[in-house]
């Protein structure tokens, strides 16, 4: 009688078993939009329900240090949506760019963190 769709809740675990996550999404994100050394700005997008983009780097400009892996964005993965993997980028910021009050005595200090492609734009 019931035609209730049964969602396979172990789907994500089974595609990663023996391969690893994010390795299981390798080759699935298509062409990366940015390359190492590119200057990018972190977008400030609404984040309903779940995100892994911190608030403090939003709007800040930094340099792509590395294309790290392909994976569904956390905002999709939280809902078990693994259909559209994206490129992930490690981006380094000068601390002064993130925290205007950061001490001028240490102008070289930096912070590095990762973003999925949707959070970045060319700067």
């Amino acid at each position: 009688m019931s035609t209730k769709h049964q969602h396979d809740r172990s789907h994500h675990a089974s595609i990663a078993t023996g391969i690893g996550d994010p390795q299981c999404f390798k080759g699935k994100a298509g062409k990366p939009k940015f390359k190492e050394g590119d200057t990018v700005r972190v977008k400030d997008m609404p984040d309903i329900f779940y995100t892994r983009c911190q608030v403090y780097p939003r709007g800040a400009v930094g340099q792509v240090t590395k294309l790290v892996y392909e994976s569904p964005a956390a905002e999709d993965e939280a809902w078990d949506n693994t259909d559209k993997p994206e490129w992930f980028y490690s981006v380094a910021f000068n601390q002064k760019e993130l925290w205007p009050e950061y001490s001028d005595a240490y102008p070289n200090d930096t912070l590095e963190t990762e973003f999925s492609e949707r959070w970045l734009e060319k700067a």
Binding site: G20, Q54, S71, T110, E114
Partner: protein
């Protein structure tokens, strides 16, 4: 004075929202047959055996072998295999892995660049190669202050760095887990891999300390004799 009757206060353990959430998810997973309660116990028992010694060994090997150092920096998951850590298949439990994700970056310090690791959004930590995170690593205090005032926080750990050393904070917010490869300290010429591994303590691998000859966490603990030893006189 009238007599007061005091109801005993209920004995309640403080349980956080996150602990309740974990219990709810765990019970649901058991109910749905994803794993059994015993599976969960075996997995937890295994994870609690993990510690920072493989990561210390990785750093010591890299200090001695430039080719291996290069592998560490380019492919941390592959390099981990040389120290007995398989990020993808390691648990003897035959299910799960001690890490949610299998991506390790080894951050190489130089004399003018010092890395330190934090997870501002939660407490992501390279558990397969470092074991469980220290309590302070998970505190909001460390997480919110390290990104903004790294020099002050490091100073509280006893690490004061000159201004010509760049501090680079790595905020582990997605699927990468980090360990720090510190600079090999002076005074360690001719040391063996075992000797070098001993000075690479957990805190050096997180980045809040730097290795020093003579400062280890893996040395034998001193055995103190009991001041008042218990006599077991059974009528001999």
């Amino acid at each position: 004075m009238s007599e007061h009757h005091h109801e005993p206060a209920p004995m309640v353990d403080e349980v956080s929202d996150f602990e309740i959430l974990e219990m709810a998810v765990r019970e649901l997973a058991i109910e749905k047959g994803l794993f059994s309660a015993e599976d969960h116990r075996i997995w937890t028992e295994y994870v609690h055996t993990l510690g920072p010694t493989p990561a210390a060994r990785l750093v010591a090997k890299a200090w001695l072998d430039p080719e291996y150092k290069n592998l560490c920096v380019t492919d941390g998951v592959e390099a981990s295999k040389a120290v007995g850590v398989d990020w993808i298949n390691s648990p003897p439990t035959h299910f799960g892995t001690p890490s949610d994700y299998c991506n390790l970056r080894v951050l190489e310090d130089t004399p003018t660049l010092k890395h330190v690791v934090v997870c501002t959004l939660c407490s992501c930590y390279p558990r397969p190669i470092l074991g469980q995170s220290p309590e302070w690593y998970r505190t909001p205090n460390y997480r919110r202050r390290l990104v903004r005032w790294p020099r002050q926080v490091l100073a509280e750990f006893g690490l004061q760095l000159p201004s010509d050393v760049q501090i680079r904070v790595a905020d582990s917010n997605q699927k990468t887990r980090y360990i720090v490869m510190p600079v090999r300290p002076a005074g360690t010429d001719g040391w063996s891999e075992d000797q070098l591994a001993e000075i690479v303590t957990r805190d050096c691998l997180i980045g809040v300390a730097v290795p020093k000859p003579g400062v280890t966490s893996n040395t034998m603990r001193p055995i103190h004799k009991a001041v008042h030893p218990v006599e077991h006189g059974h009528g001999h």
